[in-house]
């Protein structure tokens, strides 16, 4: 038995290059220090993404992306298809948990300054992945074609339309026409199952390649402590030590997903009616709440700008600064600049948390 697996390995090695798989497994290590726990959130996000791909493919077997059929097909999945309720609820819950773990991953990388040289592109590819994941959330939200998602899509695309010059084209491109109609549903379906998966796969490959090539970042403080000999430079092998811990986390996540899906099946709401008023208490998914609440507070005019465009501009500028942070916070150490960016991160986190809480009130 042992000799057979050795033979197979040797056969593969002859074709892939000497010991490449073994080399890869043996050489990757994970630093061990008091912040090691944060290293798990990237892998967790990846695992939940795999769950999304698998459950998404299953949903494709019954879902129909037209305004007359979409709501009914999801209803059919939820009530008629065996374990349909489970698959759809896991898809919805896993989507939300994935966005949550992606945010945790992002903030932990931010506060531990893991974006610093030479990992600028890892940060940028990660931020782009987060934007695409939010795109997944926004496009997927419309697919059941219910009242809430219909108005959320109206508002979200109308905001894109408030951009000067290109806004009108962008709005028509997103909606497939002037209004949110069945054409929008078909388009969003295309984004959700073809355009975004393609883009995310490419970016994810780049992100993982960079992580693999550059190794895990050690936070500046731990790095300094190691340099000054106050702390030993401990590492654990990625395979099998860290990987087994990853798997334990994933196994637990599967249990959590199953429990959430069983105890809190995802609601379907009522079918979108293009000629009904927006229902009271309408709000977007939790990860857009801070933007939604900001929109509520913005007056019709901010200086000479339309209120929603001013808001969009402010969020756009904030996102640009956030993406460019490896280049702005370039002398990461313990100086004033780096403290400023830590403060900025705390402010951003606080703003998102307070605004979201106000929206839920």
């Amino acid at each position: 038995m042992a000799s057979l697996s050795r033979q197979v390995l040797e056969w593969l090695d002859e074709r892939f290059g000497a010991g490449s798989v073994e080399e890869f497994l043996r050489h990757k290590t994970v630093p061990v220090h008091r912040h090691t726990i944060w290293y798990y959130f990237g892998g967790m996000t990846l695992f939940l993404f795999v769950i999304q791909v698998l459950t998404g493919i299953l949903l494709l077997l019954y879902y129909r992306p037209t305004p007359n059929d979409a709501f009914e097909s999801v209803q059919y999945i939820m009530t008629q298809v065996r374990f349909g309720w489970l698959i759809r609820s896991v898809h919805s819950w896993s989507a939300n948990l994935m966005i949550f773990t992606a945010f945790v991953h992002m903030f932990s990388v931010y506060f531990l300054k893991a974006y610093r040289k030479p990992r600028e592109l890892t940060w940028i590819s990660g931020m782009l992945l987060l934007f695409f994941v939010l795109g997944f959330g926004f496009s997927g939200y419309l697919l059941p074609w219910n009242t809430l998602s219909f108005f959320a899509t109206k508002v979200g695309t109308e905001m894109a339309g408030s951009i000067p010059v290109v806004g009108k084209w962008l709005l028509i491109y997103l909606r497939g026409g002037e209004e949110v109609t069945g054409a929008t549903l078909t388009r969003f379906f295309g984004f959700h199952v073809a355009v975004l998966p393609g883009a995310v796969t490419l970016l994810l490959a780049m992100h993982l390649f960079l992580v693999q090539r550059l190794g895990m970042s050690v936070p500046p403080r731990a790095e300094q402590a190691i340099r000054e000999g106050r702390q030993p430079a401990r590492v654990m092998p990625f395979f099998p030590n860290f990987f087994l811990r990853d798997m334990m986390g994933w196994y637990a996540a599967l249990g959590v997903l199953g429990a959430l899906a069983a105890l809190f099946p995802w609601e379907l709401g009522s079918k979108a009616d293009l000629f009904a008023p927006a229902p009271a208490g309408i709000r977007p998914e939790w990860y857009f709440l801070f933007m939604f609440q900001t929109l509520k507070y913005l007056p019709a005019k901010v200086l000479f700008l339309e209120g929603e465009f001013a808001g969009l501009l402010a969020f756009g500028a904030a996102a640009a600064v956030w993406v460019a942070v490896p280049f702005l916070d370039c002398k990461v150490g313990f100086g004033r600049v780096t403290r400023f960016f830590t403060g900025l991160g705390i402010f951003a986190l606080g703003y998102v948390a307070v605004m979201s809480a106000l929206a839920l009130r």
Binding site: F151, V155, P277, P279, I282, A300
Partner: protein
Amino acid sequence: MRNPDRPTQDSVQPGRRWINVLLGSGVVASIVAFLYPAIDYILPPPVAESTSRFVVAAKVDELKNNAGKVFKFGSKPALLVRTTEGEYRAFSAVCTHLNCTVQYRSDLREIWCACHNGLYDLEGRNVSGPPPRPLEKYEVHVQGEDVVVTRST
């Protein structure tokens, strides 16, 4: 000896440079020509705007005083309101802020958008919240059993 395939910058003859420019712009132009139909394909063909200038919004006995109803006017929603005095008013139901559909709030006696808490008075004027402009106002006539809403343009 100069490699004829890889000319250095200073050895390029004027005629050769022209050929590069012509070939280069030809390739760029052809790529634009390939992309143009694809980009045009992405933008949907315009849909003929409904030109109907009037619609029967409700029957006379349908709305009580201090009540409202959203109805379909062409391709867009519109709002018919009957005031506490029994007078009919009609507006576009598309919120001028971000395109949500507004509704009549009998408790406030105002027109309300649930999406971002915008308020309009019964003249359609934006009185509070984020809406930047008033709602478009329509004319209302009662013809026999029908409440008919007409737009001017």
